[in-house]
């Protein structure tokens, strides 16, 4: 039980450190509201990244403050108000920067551990 909690906590920390990259990646496909962003992250990660949905809004607030995304209210077909977020030019540049950083990190980990393709244990080699 404790081990599972620790595992979950470590996983959350990994996710937290890269959450901006995930949001930017999802918004590159087009504007989305908060719920759709969370769902898309979950879906595209194969349910491996269970984004705690409450943490999404503080993150979006920070990203908007930093100019990586912009948002406005829109009315849906069901006449509901909904805040829709979109990527800015600055956000696009930030995405490229974060992606490059992640690639560098994952390549370094792969070299260190001898995994050909970081994140896929089935491709583990016998050693460096």
């Amino acid at each position: 039980m404790k081990r599972a909690r620790e595992e979950s906590s470590q996983w959350s920390n990994l996710l937290r450190g890269n959450s901006q990259l995930l949001v930017l990646a999802v918004l590159r496909d087009g504007p989305k509201h908060g719920y759709a962003i969370a769902q898309e992250i979950r879906r595209r990660s194969g349910e491996e990244l269970p984004f705690r949905q409450g943490t999404l809004y503080p993150l979006l607030h920070e990203m908007e403050r930093d100019g990586f995304i912009a948002s406005d209210w829109q009315i849906t077909d069901a006449e509901r108000p909904r805040r829709v977020y979109r990527l800015t030019l600055r956000g696009e540049a930030e995405y490229e920067r974060l992606l490059a950083r992640w690639k560098r990190f994952s390549v370094a980990v792969a070299r260190l551990t001898g995994i050909d393709h970081a994140g896929d244990p089935s491709t583990e080699t016998s050693g460096p």
């Binding site: 719920y35 406005d72 209210w73």
Partner: protein, 221 residues
């Protein structure tokens, strides 16, 4: 979809309404563009989750429980949002850090100052006194307060210790204050109120001496 100005937070019912109310309270309770916006977003998010839950075959109650669990505790979300909000500018951040620091430092500083001063004065002024006297003699309060003033700084060691006692809590207070949430907890405020009342009584007991007035002002303000 078409663009519109910020809407009013939607009206919800049942547990979702309770959740959004708790979220609003945690954000400060006062309607503002900031709180309305996120109240609206969270409410919309919850509603979409409930719809999702219903589509998965859950009952309304199950879907609401599931939606609330997915989103997380309202006070945690509000706290993180406020942190992000107050971090918006360096000036705000500095003001917040100073505010917290003063608050905590005052609370920490007040206790050892009052207790040590009183104990020192009590020991010197009433070497033979027993605790029972404190409960029955109404003059002890005043005598003790007056007796404490000349003791501070009477010797270099006393002065040094007093200086440390004065400065150390402020340093600790600022360090702890940096880690506090935006709004101080109700317990901290309650402790402060008690300390302020205590200090007021202490100061008032010395009235009309200058020391009494000064101590009362410093501790209560």
């Amino acid at each position: 979809m078409r663009e519109i100005p910020p809407p009013k937070p939607p009206a919800l019912e049942g547990r979702l309404a309770d959740y959004v109310s708790a979220f609003r309270r945690a954000l400060g309770g006062t309607p503002s563009a900031f709180s309305s916006r996120y109240e609206c977003e969270i409410a919309d998010h919850l509603r979409l989750l409930v719809e999702d839950g219903l589509a998965r075959g859950m009952s309304v109650e199950e879907a609401e429980t599931w939606a609330i669990r997915q989103v997380g505790r309202p006070d945690e979300i509000a706290s993180t949002l406020l942190e992000a909000y107050y971090d918006d500018s360096p000036a705000r951040s500095l003001t917040r850090a100073l505010g917290r620091g003063v608050l905590v430092a005052f609370s920490i500083a007040a206790v050892p100052q009052l207790v040590s001063t009183w104990l020192l004065a009590w020991k010197t002024h009433f070497p033979e006194a027993d605790l029972a006297r404190l409960a029955v003699d109404p003059t002890w309060f005043r005598e003790l307060g007056i007796a404490s003033a000349p003791l501070i700084g009477a010797t270099p060691v006393n002065a040094a210790l007093y200086a440390i006692a004065l400065v150390a809590p402020w340093i600790v207070g600022f360090a702890v204050g940096q880690r506090l949430p935006v709004r101080p907890s109700r317990y901290l405020l309650a402790a402060q109120t008690v300390l302020a009342a205590y200090a007021l009584a202490f100061g008032a007991s010395l009235w009309p001496t200058t020391d009494g007035l000064l101590i009362a002002l410093v501790h209560v303000v």
